[in-house]
Symmetry: C2
Subunit: 643 residues, 2 copies
């Protein structure tokens, strides 16, 4: 391993110079089993090796080798194939910081060697462009994804340096970033990439190197977008957020992953440059997007066509796209706003997205993945269309697939899970804030001394979170716990007996003694969630949630002979939790008589039949489609749906 | 005009050798003003000239000239640009049959001369492929649209010959068809075009020439589709109907226009070859498609992404695609089944599609067109994205546009309106069947003598249809009138006083005397239509229809201060017709409090406020968006939408 063993407190994905909260490193927060700790282990043992095997088998790694070799070669994979390797480098780097040396380190070093060798003398690095037999560099800002790939390389380099102390990849990234600053600076090409991503990377490279020009370049890209440098095409300029300057927009629109990566980078620029106007614009965009363009799962992206946000309240469950990468990107955006503001609503959305998008994508064996995350599966997923390499050709496939021609999502899941410890808690001058509840140890040096906390919980299976103080400074420390917005009726016991606490943040300030415990009980009764009436697509339906998990009705749980479309929920009977089995009363509708025409003069939409009912268990949405082919819905029609 | 004045009874779009009903020609049925007659006049005076000016201005006509010239040239427009010219030739040919000589004849002749000159010696004719500097012929069956363009050329040639007696274009088509039979016959290339269309054309060319190999070739194409000769791609093999043999399918799927053109051609093959198994399969496909995959407007195509049918009951109003061409193609399919079977349900769907898709597309001035026909416009249509030629780059644009990069729809409207007379009535051995009600004269030679009928009506403004016999054979004749499926309570008066008649077909058989009148009164009270409860996207909503017209609520008709999303319909108050103004009682909902999250523990979906209500007129859907920018919806939420 080419690493210098740096103090591990450098292993932090995002390190703003200012902000309400300061992040903690992967060394400061370690997960100990449980919902997320188990998934981190799955990531290192299965997800990352699986992804490495695919980028190798498909010769995407070989692209780098051949580019270094200098001989003419046929590029394999899509324009952004390089970036999947970069995201895996990022994932393996965080994994190294989390677990110490593992078998993955060898792959990591080899990947870094290959890409370093492929870099052009002037810093440019992309395996699809610029060689005599290839398209020229920067000949296709729409679809070329050159700056996008650079962004992922830079993020990987920052992660690698912070996690291992090594500088080889960081130097590659600096050289590449210098090239970008020269080419696209104030006096350079007046262009932006069709896919935002480099912005967020350049700011982080600035943070790690203190090289101001990287921040300046990120700011240039942020300010340049929305000025119409990208061509018009059939999905409109909003697709790549080139319709409006970032600071003029009031809501996210266009391609969801593009919009969210851009927003994350823009927060970084706003924070580092003290641009409160820009930061306010992004807070407003977040607010309107969450209030009007986000699914109950935290999923973003209502259109299959352009993988884009819909108009306000266009949230069709059966044509939801909700790309896994948009979930990751949404976390990136929210995390930056959380650090900047300290407001718990951002952590609320991260929690929702983690449990219902990030956790949903990988199968329990870590070898297949949802790319899109539909809220309503109407027909049993058929066989996915695979190409000759055995790769799924359609991201919107209705099943989890091993790999995709456009395979951005599995490596995005990998880097997110590997770095998840860094998203659990933060600190400020007064103490520590716990945002996400997972069995974990949190240890951090405060100004007044070392604070070590052990978080013991089976959350989200149970609602009790025990925070035990293992070590604490002598002086008073403030310990803050997020009470999720859904947690009406939460109870806190700081040692003086239980007291009700409201959603938001609850703080305890005192000189803690080792052995002291704080207990937070979050109410995990399953609950109904009703949609805003402006969401036309789920009118007359209700969803069930329990804690941070959204639940789903899956056809394999229906009584024999029922179809999903026959089931109505008897909402008056409520939802119960029978020893962990979240159960609702379903009433069957008389299957409508076969008709030649599905529109009738009489309203027969409430044809429920009392003799045909059953208590039926729901499953957490993240664990649907694990028991064979099925149909599924999150939004369940209620028994009386129309006047 | 290069025409031989043939007997005009040849001016018939579709002439099956057998079938329950025989078509009538454009000479046999002439429209006299009214809803459709006025649109036919608009077609000749505005729509066709407008389309001619665009294909000329954009150099799509020049492609043909340059191809004939033999010099190297840059092809303008898309792969199927030639076909728009062919559809206009078809439109102008029918228009010639309908109106006699007009100014359009000169354009028509010039277009024919140009394309004849562009034909290669071996019969091939496409301006984008096959020249030394171009892609080779037949190098791209997925997207090349070569056989698709040939199909439209052949249809144009058949129309031109039938309408004018001229043979120049027919000879071009024969030579082209001969080339196709050689290339793609049993011993030729085992390929089909990515876009069905040539099948329906080849059968009609067989019908006009009696050349059996054209029918055989159509049959080969029909049987070959579904055997996997087209490559897999991300939308799946169903996109081009290559997933299943035509005779094995039970419902239409994939790209809607492709599916419907294919189905129309398959009916033709089934009828001409006496293949009742194939015909039965198509009848079943029609039935299932209409029962489960068709909008209340008759629109087909639920997806923007792949312009495709959705799964059963996936009929989202706000993301409906409902391409105008799919409406035209649906008429083609239904008309062929009507001729084959005589069942009125096919004419019912044609009527619905005519009034709510075909009539919706063109603006009253005939100079802008809907390409997609949404059932719910949520935001005021912004400015459409136009390219440097002033052409709309997105078919799914929310407004009517002058022309499109993919501009299949306006010429399809043009050829449909020009030939509309042929879809009004049919005959059989016993007499005449009137399928569509329009002010018209119907004159046809029966075995027993000449029958001349004058249809006098303001339909669909009023429901009275008066059929006056102007001339009749001495022997008994059966006159059949379609009673639309929606027309509960229709009244027929054959001279013996009014009698109730049921939906379906009503017949009168007798020896008619000149001057006799038959009166059919169709009930035009506006009515509610409720959706099948399996259509999730419009649960809790109701639509209003009146006669064949679907109505829409348009924001310009709302009281000041209301938004479309505030309006609920008080269905208990019914729908009234105040001297032609179809009016409903709307109740305003309290605008939901601005919220950070649109999913709540309480069901507040029925926040109607009795103090906030108004009687509001609806407009026929086909005339929406004629009064400036607006929002619109067909499906209106009812006041109580949830338990």
């Amino acid at each position: 391993m080419q690493s210098v063993h740096l103090p591990l407190h450098n292993a932090v994905p995002v390190t703003p110079a200012t902000g309400a909260l300061s992040p903690l490193s992967l060394a400061a927060v370690s997960l100990a089993g449980g919902f997320w700790g188990d998934r981190q282990n799955l990531n290192s043992s299965a997800i990352i090796p699986h992804a490495v095997s695919w980028v190798t088998r498909l010769d995407w790694v070989a692209n780098l080798e051949k580019a270094a070799g200098g001989e003419k070669y046929e590029h394999r994979g899509r324009e952004f194939a390089d970036s999947e390797i970069y995201k895996l480098i990022e994932a393996m780097s965080w994994e190294h910081a989390r677990s110490g040396e593992t078998e993955l380190d060898e792959v990591l070093d080899a990947f870094i060697d290959k890409l370093a060798a492929a870099q052009d003398p002037d810093g440019y690095l992309h395996t699809l462009f610029g060689r005599p037999w290839q398209q020229p560099r920067y000949s296709d800002f729409k679809w070329g994804h050159e700056l996008y790939c650079f962004g992922h390389l830079i993020q990987a380099a920052v992660a690698n340096h912070r996690a291992t102390g090594a500088t080889k990849l960081l130097n590659v990234a600096r050289k590449l970033a210098d090239h970008v600053c020269t080419m696209f600076g104030e006096h350079g090409l007046n262009k932006v990439c069709g896919h935002a991503e480099i912005e967020v990377a350049l700011v982080e490279l600035y943070r790690v190197t203190n090289e101001r020009r990287y921040l300046d370049q990120a700011k240039i890209f942020i300010e340049r977008r929305g000025t119409g440098t990208l061509p018009l095409f059939e999905f409109g300029q909003a697709y790549w957020q080139d319709d409006l300057p970032v600071r003029a927009a009031t809501v996210l629109r266009g391609h969801a992953v593009r919009a969210l990566y851009l927003a994350a980078g823009a927060v970084d620029v706003a924070v580092e440059t003290g641009d409160s106007e820009l930061l306010d614009a992004l807070k407003l965009q977040w607010q309107n997007t969450v209030a009007r363009r986000t699914y109950i799962t935290g999923g973003m992206g209502s259109h299959h066509m352009d993988e884009a946000f819909g108009e306000d309240f266009v949230l069709p469950p059966d044509r939801s796209y909700c790309e896994t990468c948009a979930g990751v990107a949404s976390m990136m955006f929210s995390w930056r706003l959380l650090l900047a503001t300290g407001e718990t609503k951002y952590a609320d959305l991260i929690e929702r997205t983690l449990y219902n998008i990030v956790a949903t994508s990988p199968a329990p064996d870590g070898k297949t993945f949802f790319y899109a995350n539909t809220l309503h599966q109407r027909t049993n997923a058929g066989t996915a269309p695979l190409n000759d390499d055995g790769v799924c050709i359609r991201g919107g496939s209705s099943g989890r697939e091993a790999w995709f021609e456009v395979s951005c999502c599995p490596p995005n899941v990998a880097r997110t899970l590997a770095s998840l410890g860094a998203y659990i808690a933060t600190k400020d001058d007064q103490g520590v804030q716990i945002h996400q509840y997972a069995a974990s140890r949190i240890q951090t040096q405060l100004a007044s001394g070392l604070l070590v906390l052990d978080v013991d919980t089976n959350y989200p299976a149970t609602g009790r979170i025990k925070v035990a103080v293992a070590e604490s400074p002598d002086s008073p420390v403030t310990l803050s716990l997020r009470v999720p917005a859904w947690a009406q009726g939460a109870i806190l016991d700081t040692g003086d007996g239980p007291e009700p606490v409201s959603p938001g943040s609850v703080s305890v300030t005192r000189s803690f003694q080792p052995g002291e415990e704080i207990l937070l009980d979050l109410p995990l009764e399953p609950r109904f969630s009703w949609p805003d009436e402006r969401i036309d697509a789920v009118r007359g339906c209700v969803a069930v949630e329990r804690g941070p998990e959204v639940f789903a009705l899956e056809s394999v749980d229906l009584p024999a002979g029922w179809e999903l479309e026959d089931a109505r929920i008897d909402a008056a009977s409520g939802v119960t939790d029978n020893e962990g089995a979240v159960t609702v009363k379903l009433v069957g509708v008389r299957p409508p008589a076969e008709s030649d025409w599905p529109f009738a003069p009489a309203n027969n939409s409430d044809g429920t039949d009392g003799s045909f009912q059953a208590d039926v268990p729901l499953v957490p949405y993240h664990s649907w489609a694990e028991r064979g082919s099925s149909t599924m819905r999150i939004w369940i029609p209620t028994t009386a749906t129309s006047s």
